[in-house]
Symmetry: C2
Subunit: 384 residues, 2 copies
């Protein structure tokens, strides 16, 4: 029986994690959740499980939840998320599932590693922004990060039993996002609701926009570099419209192993939760007779400049990755609020990275300062 500490319980990944827990009550016990401001969902989840801790965004909400569940510890704010990550600190078999969106996920990941608790990571920002810190901590604490991104999870599966010295290249597949059939010129007037229609996956709005700009894929390239200790030039994004092959590993003998599955996040979540075991899952088996075809296209960096920019930010190193993420977080938020156009996301993020003076090994405090400064600057200019 593994205890689950779940950050982001009311989002898309969180909801699917809870489905898996409910299907396997003998394997997992949900111990703590965070749920931002979704009180109804929090109450619903907390009524079904005997939780040790609930984290919400604001104090007022914490008081409401506390009344409903007087025997459960209720916390709030960013510190509440950290309290969740280190809840029951002696429970070494427990798993932190970090499904937060944004920079707010970084500190909980770090704190969990520091109490020697393995982390199932959906929060991209932890590695994109804090990869250099996390890598050292993982070694120091002998703790594992298990990716629940479908792409990295696929690569992780493929690398079971393989010697890392034989890996030549990683292929990260990409659907191409909502606007994959539009040229750059056609992007100028796209709307928020068009951007939120992802062809293959049902996900939160932030990640759906990141998928449309393919910033998402840029982040995943950086994550893969940290997770699998690969040179970034050997991590190749490839457009695969059907989202059936979830990523691939090429070996020095030019064999390539790939993971195929129905596009359903319950697959990577469940693999990571049960690892090193496998269990019957909730996802549909692939039906090859219904798969008409699988296609592949090179990623055009002119069409998707943020992928190239992510690779550049990784090469620049240190704080450039913080700026990349901070500018993108602000811009996606502003786009969703209809303060800027879709195409502005690329322009503003690129400008932010290209004008930033890089700090080589930023500390956690420096990261948060830079993040704040960049966001402040962008909101000041465009949020009106």
């Amino acid at each position: 029986m593994k205890n689950i500490y779940l950050l982001g319980a009311t989002g898309s990944i969180g909801t699917q994690t809870i489905e898996i827990i409910e299907k396997h009550p003998d394997a997992f016990c949900l111990k703590a959740i965070s749920g931002y401001k979704n009180l109804d969902s929090i109450i619903e989840i907390a009524s079904k499980f005997c939780l040790d801790l609930i984290a919400v965004k604001d104090m007022e909400d914490a008081l409401i939840i506390q009344k409903h569940f007087p025997n459960t510890k209720v916390v709030y704010g960013e510190n509440g998320l950290i309290e969740l990550a280190v809840c029951n600190p002696k429970d070494k078999e427990g798993l932190l599932i970090n499904a937060l969106v944004g920079m707010v996920g970084l500190k909980p990941t770090i704190e969990s590693i520091q109490i020697n608790r393995n982390v199932l990571l959906a929060n991209k920002e932890s590695l994109v922004v804090g990869g250099h810190l996390i890598k050292d901590l993982l070694e120091e604490h002998d703790v594992h990060l298990f990716p629940i991104d479908s792409e990295h999870n696929a690569i992780w599966q493929m690398l079971q039993g393989e010697n890392p010295k034989f890996i030549k290249k990683l292929y990260i597949t990409a659907s191409g996002g909502s606007f994959r059939d539009l040229s750059r010129a056609q992007l100028s007037d796209v709307t928020v609701s068009q951007a939120l229609k992802h062809p293959n996956w049902t996900m939160g709005s932030k990640i759906t926009i990141d998928s449309a700009t393919m910033m998402n894929k840029g982040f995943e390239i950086i994550e893969a570099a940290y997770l699998f200790d690969m040179d970034i030039e050997n991590i190749v994004p490839i457009i695969h419209r059907e989202s059936i092959i979830h990523s691939m590993v090429e070996y020095i003998d030019n064999s390539i192993s790939g993971l195929l599955a129905t596009p359903d996040m319950r697959m990577p979540i469940s693999y990571a939760m049960f690892y090193p075991e496998r269990e019957e899952s909730l996802i549909k088996p692939l039906d090859f007779t219904k798969l008409s075809k699988l296609t592949f296209e090179e990623v055009d960096y002119e069409r998707y400049p943020l992928v190239k920019l992510a690779i550049k930010a990784y090469a620049l190193g240190g704080s450039a990755r913080t700026v990349l993420n901070a500018a993108n977080e602000a811009c996606v938020d502003l786009f969703l609020k209809q303060k800027i156009k879709f195409i502005d996301i690329e322009t503003i993020v690129s400008k932010s990275v290209n004008t930033h003076k890089v700090i080589a090994h930023p500390s956690l405090d420096e990261i948060y300062e830079i993040d704040k400064a960049i966001k402040k600057e962008i909101y000041k200019k465009y949020n009106n």
Copy 2:
């Protein structure tokens, strides 16, 4: 340095094996070859390597080869193939590569296992006909069979680091062979030269015809059942015209891992030779930008009755598999000699299996007797 004992050195697999040995003189030393009646090729190979033994088909040819290479042991006939398999019996690190075509490959496989030498197996008949004997011997001698069929090799690669208890299904991919675009009605007058034009692979004539009838795929299903200890109903053939995915494994959580590579037999041969290492290979890396698409189709058992027949023969058990193979060997030979039509292969092989009275656990002697009797009967009837 591994010593290589190579049965079938002058055929397609043999030639490619020698290319790999020549590229890696520090890793492999060719010690013995068999070459049937291809004296020119034998002389060419033997001039380049310092061989301990050469096996040919006939005594007269042995005398000719002996004159050329007075310091090398030269043997002939079926016993010569066995002498090759057990050459230098104390060399436990040596590998037998069995690339013989037909029943003639069975005894050398068995003899090699009996001297505790691992076998790299391209000879399908060893397992199709003698699977029940070989399985017991492998356990008894703690010896491994490493498949160099592209399909089984792919599955073997995929299963590295995976727990067999989580395997749900194996998908064996099939190109569909030379006549995949013809209906059954259109098969009645196809010629030998049409049948020998395989869309994706360059192989010997026997296996190219077996690919056109998909008898080949039936054999591979039986082989997979023995190699991976799977129930035959969980081994599913699937038509994949591009021959890029070389086979797949489905797990209980509905993840599927697949091996992708340029269709080039040097990949599986090289993987098996270097195992558990990988080495830079002679095959071209896959270029995803040039892959237009990958497609999949269900196998129509009405169109390809020999696949169904193979599954039936496996279920019938014992000597039914010997009959399946013997009748097919005879029929393919008769078709190549233009004594029977393409479509007759299916009719005659099916009739042979369906009228045979099964012996449950045939001994090696019984297998050879049945093989001889079936072939004799078919040749008597059609070879005129």
